[in-house]
Symmetry: C2
Subunit: 231 residues, 2 copies
DNA sequence: TAGATTGTTAATCGATTAACAATC
DNA sequence: TAGATTGTTAATCGATTAACAATC
């Protein structure tokens, strides 16, 4: 129980369990077995039991898990028991959509401000929230003690923005920009690069066999031996 | 080379390599070692060499990889050598942002249509693209031979939408709705649930130690010693 | 009690890292 | 040739699955 260094793969499953519990509770279900959680989530029952066991013994042998009790535990484990204030940097299409989307869907997170460096966007309202100039970010991060930040600026600006928010106390970044951010030890970045996701899907959308055999043929055609120009 | 069943973790890294090669080529760099690719990507040099070796021998011992050559290979491997036509279902904030975002950023993918079941949204223009009623989707999927689809509808509608597009020939779905989709064997779903991403980040944004010890204290209150009775 | 299901240890599987011969 | 770096095999590490005793 509460042994440290729980792996990232485990942590990423916890919010999914939470979402399922929310649904079950809405449907009035009070107890749930790991087997049934498996059906709902697509993870194996063993894996679910093991994931939960890292944090404690929340079930009842022979009966399963009490949905309300387990939900409370998950909320505490993930850190959602108090609302997390966050900011969005980058008020383009994506940043605007993220802001609107989150404001309606996510009861655990509150977006307190949206920033952009483009003067044309500053002053816009997104669901009642003003878009502020980026130079106002430092004081606001400190004032609200912001620890989590969404970055939806261009690839060019993302590193600069990351440096700025980290310098002012942000510990975790959800990065939508298509670049690898360099951050100090102890700062967490999750990448949500939609282009990458989409491209890796395309791999699976056509018969691999066929395409990869084409790769072989091309190689044979093209590089009798020039494969590698010998300089 | 081209042994089958290459793992999903490998495939997900390929578009990242591609993106880095794009950058290198733009900077005029012609050769790159796995070591340098490691610096750019954050993956180890060994891992990069191994990933590429699943598909062939693209490098030159002693010299590294020719950036233009490797980029071509990656494009073929991923399946980006011809433009992929795709559709977006769900023209709310997120769907609109995804459509605009993709149209500008992703040269390998073309969004041919956006659909919504809400009559209020039908007829809207998104960067010159009409929002069509969902019942027009089947014929269009067939006409353009659409294999990849983005779903940005509500959790309630997502399964229904998935069933519909799969029935008409879609093989791969990028799902933004916060539900687990049930799909037949051979259909690929990638989930891009932003709420999940954000929540799992929150886990890392505050000191775990502290929060998890709180969990223990709470448990002690509620469950006297039955933490783990020793039998 | 008998049946069910957890929590946990052991076995397996897969992915990453290390090492190094091949070779440019 | 000497130096560098790939491609690949072997060793390690970590995550998943299987199994089962504990126990409700």
């Amino acid at each position: 129980m509460s042994s440290r260094n729980i792996s990232k793969t485990v942590i990423k499953r916890l919010p999914i369990y939470l979402r399922i519990l929310d649904q079950l509770i809405r449907r009035g279900i009070e107890m749930i077995s790991s087997k049934e959680l498996s059906n709902e989530s697509g993870f194996t029952a063993e894996q679910i039991r093991k994931d939960l066991a890292y944090f404690g013994a929340f079930g009842t042998r022979g009966a399963g898990y009490n949905t309300l009790f387990l939900r409370e535990k998950l909320i505490t484990i993930i850190g959602l028991d108090s609302i997390t204030d966050t900011i969005v940097i980058g008020a383009g299409n994506l940043g605007t959509a993220l802001t609107r989307y989150n404001l309606t869907k996510n009861p655990y997170v509150n977006i307190v401000a949206v920033f952009d460096k483009n003067p044309k966007l500053v002053g816009n309202k997104i669901d009642g929230l003003d878009v502020l100039p980026i130079n106002k970010a430092p004081q606001l991060i400190k004032k609200y003690n912001i620890k989590v930040c969404l970055i939806s600026v261009t690839a060019n600006s993302a590193q600069e923005v990351a440096d700025l928010v980290i310098k002012n106390g942000v510990k975790a970044i959800l990065n939508f920009a298509p670049v690898k951010l360099s951050v100090p030890e102890g700062i967490h970045v999750h990448n949500a690069d939609l282009t990458i996701e989409l491209q890796s899907l395309i791999y699976y959308s056509s018969a691999e066999e066929e395409r990869l055999s084409r790769l072989d043929r091309e190689s044979k055609g093209k590089e009798p031996d020039l494969e590698k120009p010998l300089s």
